[in-house]
Symmetry: C2
Subunit: 397 residues, 2 copies
């Protein structure tokens, strides 16, 4: 029986909620976390992985911020899925973010479900999972939690903060909230606020989860249930927005799935249907439904201009070097969103370079093998390291 | 109690399934309808409305084809919602499709739920609603049913066939299947096949419905239940695709709904959330969940090129005059889809004019007050009427 539960992905995922396979920093009453909502988290914890070695003057730390359903396993095996790190192409020895040169930190976001405090974590007040009793968290809260982790690691200034999509939101929030702690910032496929259309897609996902009677008003754990169908539908809807019309057409078109002709029924006749169903079904094995509510809500709430009065005020006086990147076929965070950020950075007289990369793979391009993205980031990071004067082991820097 | 049920929209909708407020043509065993699946419908019925007067030589009949969730009440009050006809701006006295000049027919599609045979209709074999026992229907089946209605009305050739979105698919199918019976064709905001992305969105909607335990494998009527939550989520997801990013931004942006600040909860903080929830909730009062499965499936299956070998073969030798129309911000049926149709029509040496209309309202533009669309259609229809030699009452034609 013990062996069975060890290989059951749901059980494995649930174990990761409070006792993650990664490192974890636990903060007690004297290190409580005050959230934007006014709520205070205490105790709370943040799960993280590190790669490479922090140098003597602690000047080579890179923080990677993950997207909606990402995790701290940026360049190491995910303990739930057994899959390689989600950005192994970007982060690792000899990669654009080279762990032979930099000390890379990646933490699970606040509200997540892989070891950082989130709705599936045990509420110390009740000894039951928080469920909806956890306060709604924001991108700024996620960043505040990361800053506390960076303090805990004894690092004053991050050499770089890097991330795509919701990870990019955190990058922008870092640069706005802690300008003196961020030497270089790489926000990719992101924006300074969530658009109406993006909120709309998230709301569909949340409604799909909350419509599932297994959701039990968020208390499914204590009732031994799980809203897998609702979460699966939410993932399917979201997944469409991560791909471009072009890539769907090229990858699937109207091809049929393991059949010669239409069946005149409601099975998955088309490959795209089969693919989406698979995406939905595998997602529920690794992600918590309430976490999905919380993390989508954090993205919806994100609006740097509203927080700072205007977007250029958010970056006023910034000395951070920015490399803003978008993809031509990304319709979730189209280039116009990146251009707004660049415009505000220019208005704030910040140091910014902007690259729009031609790629037909849509929003998910930032996770894929896109050589121009890698070469751009490698070049930018190398230049920033020289400017920062980071001693490179065995190098000339 | 009787009064209560009369005003209950669900009861009203259900009554319309078999005994519609509109006209209805019932076809018996000798007029059975053979479907693309091979199934034979007998008896079956088609509900329709007509407007204006058929002239002596029966040359002024215009068939309007409705979209996914449309109905036969194109220019008259919908008996379930009490709202004006869905295309009253386009069809009526003095309108671009002028019911003072033309005899307009609009029928509920096969698979629908407002009086034409569909999954909510009573199966004569079991005396219970068909549910999933109804064969899956296709756009060609819908058109075959309409052709039988047109025969029944004693009309040989339609002056024009007009429709947007799924209505436009029917227009193209009419022109391909019955070229000699269509003098003019106006396919709007449509395509000759459903794209991979479009199938994907439909599949999300179907999965949302089928994930609802109230769906009961399609037999909810006989169990006194209704999958309203699943259908509502399906509608919410679809509704996003009907609008453009621009129109959502202009209409809602990040505006809050009846509140001064964020609530840090999962209520509808944003106007777009409130709007979408309303769209979902009102939809379930007027539409049957199984019909939604069937009609979306018909759209997914649509692929004229596959049916005829190539798109230009579909229109080979056509004498029909075409007016193809698309909208700049329609991302569900982007202009590229219309261009493919136009290219095929040109390859078939057909008579075609093509207009892409600049409008920021997305796919739903065809249903809205878009003056350029009205003037284009008025001009095209008037020209076609002259070419056809339709005697206009009181006019010079």
């Amino acid at each position: 029986m013990a062996d069975e539960s060890a290989t059951d992905p749901i059980t494995a995922a649930y174990r990761e909620v409070d006792t993650p396979s990664s490192q974890v920093a636990v903060f007690g009453d004297r290190e409580a976390l005050t959230l934007d909502s006014g709520a205070v988290l205490s105790p709370w914890q943040i799960a993280f992985e590190t790669y490479g070695t922090l140098n003597a003057d602690k000047s080579n730390a890179v923080l990677i911020c993950h997207a909606l359903t990402g995790d701290q396993y940026v360049a190491s095996t995910n303990p739930v899925t057994g899959k390689p790190g989600w950005w192994s192409l970007m982060v690792g020895p000899g990669r654009p973010i080279d762990t032979d040169k930099y000390f890379v930190i990646c933490s699970n976001v606040l509200g997540g479900c892989l070891g950082t405090t989130g709705p599936a974590s045990i509420d110390p007040k009740t000894s039951k999972p928080y469920g909806l009793d956890l306060s709604v968290v924001t991108i700024a809260d996620m960043v505040r939690a990361q800053a506390q982790l960076v303090d805990h690691l004894g690092i004053e200034t991050l050499f770089a903060v890097v991330g795509g999509s919701m990870g990019g939101m955190q990058v922008l929030q870092w640069a706005a909230t802690y300008p003196e702690r961020v030497f270089a910032a790489i926000p990719i496929a992101t924006g300074a606020r969530h658009s109406s259309q993006n909120i709309a897609f998230h709301e569909v996902g949340r409604q799909a989860i909350m419509a599932d009677p297994e959701w039990c008003a968020g208390e499914y754990f204590s009732q031994g249930r799980r809203p897998t169908k609702g979460l699966s539908v939410a993932r399917m809807a979201a997944h469409i927005t991560y791909m471009s019309d072009e890539s769907l057409h090229q990858k699937f078109g109207r091809n049929l799935q393991d059949r010669e002709s239409l069946t005149f029924g409601f099975d998955a006749d088309f490959q795209i249907e089969s693919y989406l169903r698979h995406q939905g079904m595998t997602f529920v094995d690794r992600f918590d439904a309430n976490s999905y509510l919380y993390v989508t809500r954090a993205m919806d709430y994100f609006d740097l201009a509203a927080e700072f009065g205007s977007l250029s005020l958010a970056f006023k006086g910034s000395k951070t070097r920015f490399c803003v990147m978008s993809f031509t076929t990304d319709w979730l965070f189209p280039t116009t969103e990146s251009r707004s950020v660049v415009k505000a950075l220019n208005a704030a007289a910040a140091n910014v370079s902007f690259v729009e990369i031609a790629c037909d793979r849509g929003h998910d391009s930032f996770l894929l093998d896109v050589p121009e993205m890698f070469s751009t980031i490698r070049g930018f990071v190398t230049g920033a390291a020289k400017a920062r004067g980071i001693p490179v082991p065995g190098g000339e820097g």
